[in-house]
């Protein structure tokens, strides 16, 4: 019997352990909170897409595919033809919405997808295990899985990073990242640049400015004056892409 723990002793030890663990857990939280409160973000990327102007040419899709050496099925910015109830149709480009309360972030088991301080959601394809939970969770279908071998990038020494995941890796997930690799060099995102109708605007919520390459506007005013809305906003995802509906067009398709 010596050395044999009684049931009461065991339960007591476990209870004490459990409390200790819970208490210990609060310490790292305290540190994490302090860290986050230091500096404010310098940019918070957003986009405005003018549906009155989009003519469905898909130049944005092609430019994105070329820039990132993507296979045909990868439409990181995808242009939908939407038939509205009045019998007409309009075109709706959909990049990744870089949601504020992104469902894809929450469900990734290995934190392969993460949000930068610039509020862009990136994918670390060196970490992604290809479980595709993020694809199930995304309400906008903005994530794409590399089922096969992606096209080889032209530069064989290209080492992919989350900001510029070229070449894509087989068995991992990729998506639009607002071309942060281009904005780091002061270049407009590929889709913004390629749009012939200048319907896509890239903006910054902190500096409150947006440009489509030609014109530059004050983002908040632009959104308010044009009654810009966000798609499926009621889901609470907090998307960062605003749409300007055509006058008289209903989006209730």
């Amino acid at each position: 019997m010596a050395g044999q723990m009684s049931r009461r002793q065991l339960l007591g030890t476990l209870g004490g352990l459990g409390t200790g663990v819970l208490a210990a857990g609060f310490v790292p939280i305290a540190f994490a909170e302090a860290e986050a409160a230091e500096t404010g973000p310098k940019r918070q990327w957003a986009m405005v897409i003018d549906l009155r102007k989009c003519d469905g040419c898909r130049a944005c899709t092609k430019a994105c595919q070329e820039t990132h050496h993507l296979p045909e099925s990868f439409e990181w910015i995808k242009v939908f033809e939407v038939h509205d109830k009045q019998g007409g149709s309009f075109f709706m480009p959909r990049p990744c919405f870089q949601c504020e309360n992104a469902p894809c972030l929450k469900v990734c088991p290995v934190a392969a997808t993460f949000k930068t301080n610039d509020s862009v959601v990136l994918v670390d394809q060196d970490r992604c295990i290809g479980c595709r939970m993020c694809m199930a969770a995304c309400p906008y279908g903005a994530r794409y899985f590399n089922y096969g071998d992606p096209p080889i990038a032209s530069n064989p020494f290209q080492r992919p990073t989350p900001e510029f995941p070229v070449p894509q890796q087989k068995g991992t997930v990729g998506k639009c990242m607002f071309c942060v690799h281009r904005s780091a060099n002061g270049e407009l995102p590929a889709c913004v640049d390629a749009c012939g109708m200048k319907a896509i605007w890239i903006g910054d919520l902190v500096e409150d400015v947006a440009t489509n390459g030609d014109e530059t506007v004050r983002l908040s005013t632009f959104i308010k004056e044009n009654d810009a809305f966000r798609y499926k906003e009621e889901l609470g995802t907090g998307p960062r892409v605003y749409y300007i509906a055509g006058h008289g067009q209903l989006l209730d398709y």
Binding site: Q4, V21, V27, P28, A36, P41, Q44, E187, V206, T221
Partner: protein, 228 residues
């Protein structure tokens, strides 16, 4: 038995301490909440430009004289209520001194956004005296360079005027619309971890205590021997 429990506890505490913080949980960027920032206006920089000036830091007006273009005089001043920002006024005068009526003017703020760009912040038509004004609350503090473009009218060619001013009042910074409950959920993993520990502990107890008990009590009587 005791040693096993203590070892389990040490390992799991170490694991939680290592895994707890860091980029796990919900990797989102948090916005510190800042209220409207107001700094006191700097009286030393006050000069006038020919308009009736109300208090506040005025600017260095710039006059651009194009050969056949109108003169565009741009001034800025603080709004009546300081927190409303600034008023940017402009006056368009034709080369022979006459104010230009019904002139279309556009106001731009020079920004560095994918290169230097002119951000449209307002547009107006001049009145009989050639005056037009817009209200402007800059998005951030610091130096603001305003460009006013006159679209041209009749024989008058388009022309431009600039002004700079130091913004000490700015619009409230952007706040993300993350639901408040998100921060609460950070506590859940730790509670779950504690429950998990308890469960594994119970399973270990069931297995090892039983095994130990069986081994230890092998020398006692069986039920059958007892009955006999």
């Amino acid at each position: 038995m005791r040693r096993i429990v203590i070892a389990l506890a040490a390992v799991s505490l170490a694991a939680i301490a290592l895994l707890g913080p860091g980029r796990s949980l919900l990797p989102v960027s948090t916005q510190p909440a800042r209220a409207l920032v107001i700094a006191a206006p700097d009286p030393a920089a006050a000069t006038h430009s020919g308009h009736e000036a109300v208090s506040a830091p005025a600017t260095r007006p710039a006059i651009v004289a194009a050969a056949d273009g109108a003169r565009v005089v741009v001034t800025t001043r603080s709004a009546t209520k300081v927190e409303q920002g600034y008023v940017i006024e402009t006056r368009i005068v034709s080369p022979d001194g006459k104010p230009v009526n019904e002139a279309i003017v556009r106001f731009y703020d020079l920004v560095d956004f994918f290169g230097p760009r002119e951000e449209l912040i307002g547009s107006a038509r001049t009145d009989g005296q050639g005056n037009a004004a817009i209200a402007y609350l800059p998005a951030s503090l610091g130096q603001s360079e305003i460009v006013v473009r006159f679209a041209g009218q009749g024989s008058l060619a388009p022309s431009v005027g600039t002004a700079t001013f130091e913004a000490t009042v700015a619009a409230p910074p952007y706040r993300s619309d993350q639901p408040g409950l998100l921060s609460f959920t950070r506590l859940v993993p730790y509670a779950a971890g504690a429950i998990l520990l308890a469960v594994w502990g119970l399973i270990a107890f069931a297995l090892f205590a039983t095994a130990r008990g069986i081994a230890v009590r092998a020398d006692l009587k069986t039920a059958k021997e007892d009955a006999v």
